[in-house]
């Protein structure tokens, strides 16, 4: 008997690795190490586990936009696609350093100064640094646990005549396993600066995950996309306009979430189950008793 189609056939190692990878990648924020431990207990095969971990951790870390303390204590580096030099190296433009990341341990094992070829042109850097300063100010205000980074993701060698793209990433996590809750906020803002057209276009993506698991398992997952634009000006003015737009959209989104939550109890949840019947009184179980009495009575009468 096999309701889920799990055949008795022995799985190939590749299949086991694929399944193990799936579990690791579905780990809630801050929980991949716990999942890894349980997974090792299920697999009981270190080769398979190692293969899955090698493949899954880098993807998970980048997807989660893990923020890691740099080994020289100069700040945090955000592990994400936009800052990826190669599989284990991630750039931090604020300190002009490249950090070496041990994905499985989730730590930074070393830093080196970034090569000139890895850094943006002086012109692009002026805008990047200005936006970075503004985002840091915003983070300090709005994300008590947040970290941010600004990357030059396109046309980093541009001068006044060309357009370029900067990417603002914000990553804020709270891990509180003792209180059975973990969560992460991630936002990515692609900022296209068109010096020739005198315009700035923004494209934002915000994701929030939260997990509460005291005697249960409840998870929140949200995603949101938005667009906006502004005028291309000098670095300081552009930076303040760009971060103003980011702040505005993120605040609006938060207000929207508050609205979702406030409607949850009395509206949305009702679609599944009401708090009380329409009559606003508990179900009348006396009917059940009455019903069985009648049935017994009927049986007695018919048997006489």
């Amino acid at each position: 008997m096999d309701p889920l189609g799990a055949e008795e056939e022995e799985l190939s190692d590749e299949q086991k690795i694929a399944l193990a990878k799936w579990f690791l990648l579905k780990s809630p924020p801050g929980e991949i190490q716990y999942v890894a431990k349980d997974l090792q207990g299920v697999l009981l095969n270190d080769n398979i586990y190692q293969a899955a971990a090698q493949a899954a951790f880098p993807v998970y870390n980048k997807e989660q936009m893990l923020s890691v303390e740099m080994s020289d204590g100069s700040g945090q580096v955000i592990v994400c696609e936009d800052g990826e030099i190669d599989a284990n190296h991630f750039i931090d433009l604020r300190t002009a350093q490249v950090a070496t990341i041990d994905h499985i341990e989730q730590v930074c094992t070393g830093v080196r100064p970034a090569a000139d070829s890895e850094l943006p042109s002086a012109y692009v850097e002026e805008y990047r640094a200005a936006i970075d300063t503004e985002v840091v100010r915003y983070i300090e205000e709005a994300f008590p646990r947040g970290h941010c980074s600004v990357f030059a993701t396109n046309g980093k060698d541009s001068d006044e005549n060309g357009g370029f793209e900067l990417t603002v990433v914000i990553s804020s996590a709270k891990f509180s396993p003792k209180n059975f809750c973990n969560g992460r906020w991630r936002s990515i803002w692609k900022v296209q600066l068109h010096g020739d057209l005198q315009t700035v276009d923004l494209q934002g993506n915000i994701k929030i995950s939260a997990h509460y698991f005291e005697e249960g398992n409840v998870q929140l997952d949200t995603a949101y996309d938005c667009k906006d634009s502004s005028i291309f000006q000098g670095p300081a003015e552009t930076a303040s306009a760009v971060v103003g737009i980011i702040q505005h959209h993120e605040s609006e989104y938060l207000a929207y979430l508050e609205d979702c939550y406030s409607k949850l109890s009395d509206n949305t949840f009702k679609e599944l189950r009401r708090k009380l019947p329409v009559t606003r009184t508990l179900f009348f179980w006396g009917n059940a008793h009455q019903m069985s009495m009648n049935r017994e009575l009927a049986r007695e009468i018919s048997s006489k």
Binding site: M1, D2, G5, A6, K16, L19, A20, W22, K26, P28, E31, V35, D38, V42, L43, E141, A142, F143, P144, R145, G146, K174, C181, G183, W185, I206, I208, A210, Y212, F213, E215, G216, N217, V218, Q219, L220, D221, Y224, D225, Q247, E250, S251, L254, A255, C260, Y261, T268, F269, E271, L272, R273, R274, P277, V278, T279, F283, W285, A288, H289, S292
Partner: protein, 274 residues
């Protein structure tokens, strides 16, 4: 086994079916144990003879067939499938009738099934009350608020008669699994999913019969689970969102911004006095 259950506690509840089937593939020797320990969303079959749907679980299964509570027959047909003894079948018929009324009052739709079977304890029996509701706007959601909305409730009650013959001991284990995807005009998604399990025991007088006793316990438990999910579990995820990102416009005395402003104000006052 412990590790497998640990994984199930961390995987997104909306993906519990995939997680469980993956574990079954990785641990083929533990499949029956896994299936009995891990609850999963209920599946539905159609009882053609009665024109009604019924829910599947381990308690109405024999081989690859499941017994319908409406016709007491197996689907697909099974010649010598296990049937409850006559006195339990009578109670099962009543339970299905009354529980359908209960379900309709609280769920405004949905599917319910009740199954009864004998246990080892003398005069004892066990019952399983199941409810499934699709509250999405394409399903039975009356308000059109959910893109996807699934609720599965599984209540298993073990009943033992006490020595004095006038009371019985009831032990109820309930699990609720739900998954909600809000239908929003906003370009985004808002998904909440979860599963919780609780137990409740009671010694109750038999003056009103087993069915009323079991029904009241289930009603009480379902209300507790619903409120717990709503107030505590969803509340905790909301709290997390607003801890990660502070609502800048509404300053509160405890928020980081609120606190720093408080400090500034206090410093100003102190400075103005000196």
């Amino acid at each position: 086994m412990e590790a497998a259950l640990g994984l199930m506690r961390r995987m997104p509840p909306s993906l519990s079916r995939t997680a469980l089937s993956s574990l079954l593939l990785l641990l083929p020797d533990h499949s029956s144990e896994l299936l009995s320990l891990v609850d999963q969303p209920l599946e539905v079959l159609w009882d053609e003879g009665c024109g009604k749907q019924f829910l599947l679980c381990d308690y109405n299964r024999d081989g690859d067939s499941h017994r319908s509570p409406w016709s007491n027959t197996y689907h697909p047909p099974l010649e010598d499938g296990v049937l409850p003894p006559a006195h339990l079948r009578d109670l099962e018929v009543e339970a299905n009738e009354i529980f359908a009324l209960y379900r309709d009052q609280y769920y405004e739709g949905g599917i319910s099934s009740v199954y009864l079977w004998e246990t080892d304890s003398p005069e004892g029996f066990a019952a399983c009350f199941l409810i499934k509701k699709d509250g999405s706007r394409t399903g039975e959601g009356r308000r059109g608020l959910l893109e996807q909305g699934l609720w599965d409730a599984i209540h298993v009650i073990e009943v033992e008669k006490a020595n004095d013959e006038t009371t019985a001991h009831y032990c109820l284990t309930s699990t609720v699994m739900l998954s909600m995807k809000s239908a929003t005009g906003f370009q985004g998604s808002f998904d909440l999913s979860g599963s919780i399990t609780r137990q409740m025991e009671a010694d109750l007088s038999l003056s009103e019969g087993h069915l009323s006793n079991m029904g009241r316990m289930i009603e009480d438990m379902e209300s507790k689970l619903r409120n717990g999910l709503d107030q505590v579990y969803f509340g905790k995820t909301r709290e997390m969102v607003f801890t990660l990102r502070e609502p800048l416009d509404t300053l509160t005395a405890t928020s980081a911004t609120g606190q720093s402003i408080q400090h500034e104000v206090i410093n100003d006052i102190v400075r103005s006095r000196t």
